[in-house]
């Protein structure tokens, strides 16, 4: 789950990580009054959207008087960044920057631990730094049993700074950001850039956090920060019903048991020249209730011209799956052609049950995919 910059900065504040004062505004008028309220001459107006690349898209602008704030806010509010409409902006005090750094905590899949990443090349995407100047990135895996004691935080900070004033500030930020990461079950906590001001202070002028969906059950306060797009709402409601759904923009609706097989099915549709309308994993069992819910979701997408059901009968036998489908389709009214491909335990029996019914039965994945692509291209 992603959150906005202002929400991440509020969490930073709670954990004592230095950030500048800010105000969230939903309109030009609010931005102007927030400007007066902040009482600073130089401010930054920043689009609040759940995607990166705001600066490049023109979603972050400096302003230095009331009129300027009004015109910049008017430019940003209502613009669209990578398909996300900007509905609100953050007004923050501008900072006199002398240098920019990068610091983050993330999950290291390969080492199976939390990873601290730091770089003196802040303000650019860390992926770019990794490619262009890999020796300017420092990585430290954290042992979950001891976390980051003071000596270690100092040791990390000394790789970036020489003056003890800065080292102490950096060490504290590292420890606090780690505590935030762990206590809130984050999957990313990133400060880019962390800047040094002319006064020698380290401040987070941007903040990015994402959280582990599997841990949201124990963080109501984080869940409350979620702001879902319509598409994400559909995905979440599918999850509540026991299946995973991702909407795509093709014409062939897919219903598959298992995430890997579902991805492979989409890939084959592409390979054979068609385009999948969605990813849908209905999970292990294919009981009629679940099939009905999943079909409703699939058919609500009006672009779907044909449905491809691809089931591997493992623990659930193919004849049971076939009976489940027949049962479910008694309650589904649609003219959309439905192709069923059943393989696995008792596949002969399963296929026999579906012969001479409303279903088009295929034996292999390639046969089923060919059929689907052909029907989609003709209708």
């Amino acid at each position: 789950m992603k959150i906005h910059e202002y929400q991440a900065k509020d969490l930073f504040s709670t954990y004592g990580i230095p950030v500048k004062k800010h105000r969230l505004c939903f309109s030009v008028a609010e931005a102007v009054s927030a400007y007066k309220d902040l009482g600073e001459q130089q401010v930054v107006v920043k689009a609040q959207v759940l995607t990166g690349g705001r600066g490049k898209a023109g979603g972050i602008k400096l302003a230095s008087n009331e009129e300027d704030v009004a015109s910049k806010a008017a430019q940003i509010i209502g613009m669209s960044i990578k398909g996300y409409p900007v509905e609100k902006v953050l007004l923050t005090e501008a900072v006199n920057i002398t240098s920019e750094y990068y610091v983050s905590f993330a999950i290291d899949r390969n080492k199976k631990s939390v990873l601290l990443i730091m770089s003196p090349e802040g303000g650019v995407e860390i992926e770019t730094v990794a490619v262009e100047t890999p020796d300017r990135i420092f990585r430290f895996n954290i042992d979950p049993m001891i976390g980051i004691p003071d000596f270690m935080a100092r040791q990390f900070a000394f790789t970036m700074f020489t003056s003890i004033e800065q080292v102490n500030q950096m060490a504290t930020i590292i420890q606090k950001l780690y505590r935030l990461f762990i206590e809130k079950d984050a999957s990313l906590a990133e400060i880019n850039p962390l800047v040094q001001t002319a006064e020698g202070q380290l401040i987070a002028i941007d903040a990015k956090m994402t959280f582990d969906d599997n841990a949201l059950f124990r963080h109501d306060e984080i869940r409350a920060l979620a702001e879902l797009t319509d598409e994400e709402k559909t995905e979440v409601s599918a999850k509540d019903k026991g299946f995973s759904y991702v909407s795509l923009d093709g014409e062939i609706g897919c219903m598959v048991n298992g995430a890997g097989l579902a991805m492979a099915t989409m890939d084959m549709i592409k390979l054979y020249g068609g385009s999948p309308a969605n990813f849908l994993d209905i999970g292990g069992s294919s009981n009629p209730v679940k099939v009905i819910e999943a079909m409703k979701l699939l058919l609500s997408d009006k672009r779907v011209k044909v449905v491809l059901i691809n089931i591997f009968g493992g623990i659930t036998r193919c004849d049971d799956v076939a009976n489940g489908l027949l049962e479910a389709f008694k309650q589904i009214e649609t003219q959309t052609p439905v192709i069923v491909r059943l393989t696995g335990t008792n596949e002969q029996e399963g296929r026999a049950l579906l012969q001479n019914t409303r279903f088009l039965v295929a034996q292999t994945m390639s046969e089923a995919t060919h059929m689907a692509v052909e029907i989609a291209s003709k209708s």
Partner: protein
């Protein structure tokens, strides 16, 4: 031979009194797996399918001399069960549960490491050494004893591929579903090494998917250290950026973790990559042919 499990595997089922635990205990017993006990706090002294149930892993291991455990408890308690198994001296822990918070797994994994044990999963279907032992929820009847090692991040896609292998007369030495979460135990490199050193495995099939860079690291490892032929399939070539495709770990983040990158590195390491699952048997037959020439 085979890897990780065989006829001398002595298995404990953690969460044996639950619905899934009980159901799969029956399936595994029918396959011939030696299940020596189950654990369910407060149900010690009872039996499930004639298997004795203990209150704690400590008691269970002491009284049964078990060496392997499989975890069917709900996600919220599963990381604790992993640690309980490691603490009791279990050397191979298989965790089926899906939905465990990643940081809980990170911590449990560290403890498993300290105890010198190995973890498979979480969010995995387990593993099978056909004809000898099944520790998981894989559909037993599709597997055939043979000489192909199968390593996968997925469940049903593995079954699909194994189904093609068995139909083509290519049996399996051991088949393992490693799990679909971002952080799981034994992974491609560990398992490729085990198969490389297993005299009864001739070739390996690795089934990867989008997300992370484990396939790329595996490719590098194959180039340097693996002499047996490897055939691969990577799912998710048509997956969009930034969307989680069912598995918690299957997500392309800002252009990295794509199927195209993985396929390219594998091909560069001499791995034959199938366009679709049904191609895998012919690719295996072609590499075996090359090897014997």
């Amino acid at each position: 031979m085979s890897i990780l499990i065989n006829e001398s595997t002595r298995l404990i089922v953690q969460g044996i009194t639950g619905r899934d635990g009980g159901f799969h205990t029956r399936k595994m017993l029918d396959y011939g797996t030696q299940i020596v006990g189950g654990v369910s706090p407060g149900k010690g002294g009872t039996h499930v399918h004639d298997v004795p149930v203990f209150n704690t892993m400590e008691q269970a291991v002491k009284q049964t001399n078990a060496n392997t455990s499989i975890i069917f408890v709900p996600a919220r308690f599963a990381a604790d069960s992993i640690m309980e198994a490691a603490d009791a001296g279990i050397k191979l822990i298989i965790c089926i549960a899906e939905g465990i918070p990643t940081l809980d797994v990170v911590k449990a994994y560290r403890y498993v490491q300290q105890k010198g044990a190995q973890l498979i999963g979480p969010n995995c279907p387990g593993l099978v050494t056909p004809g000898k032992s099944l520790a998981g929820i894989l559909p037993a009847q599709i597997f055939k004893p043979g000489r192909i090692g199968v390593i996968s991040r997925s469940g049903t896609l593995t079954y699909e591929i194994v189904y093609h292998l068995s139909a083509a007369g290519l049996g399996q030495s051991t088949a393992i579903g490693m799990g679909g979460d971002p952080v799981v135990g034994l992974y491609f490199i560990d398992l490729l090494d085990l198969f490389e050193n297993d005299p009864d495995t001739d070739a390996m099939v690795m089934i990867g998917e989008i997300g992370g860079n484990a396939e790329e690291l595996a490719a590098e490892h194959i180039r340097k250290h693996i002499t047996k032929p490897v055939v691969a399939f990577i799912a998710g070539q048509s997956a969009p950026v930034g969307k989680q495709m069912g598995h918690a770990g299957a997500i392309i983040s800002s252009g990295s973790g794509t199927a195209a990158e993985k396929i390219e590195s594998l091909k560069a390491a001499g791995v034959l990559v199938a366009d679709e699952p049904s191609q895998i048997p012919e690719l295996l037959k072609s590499v075996n042919l090359l090897k014997t020439k």
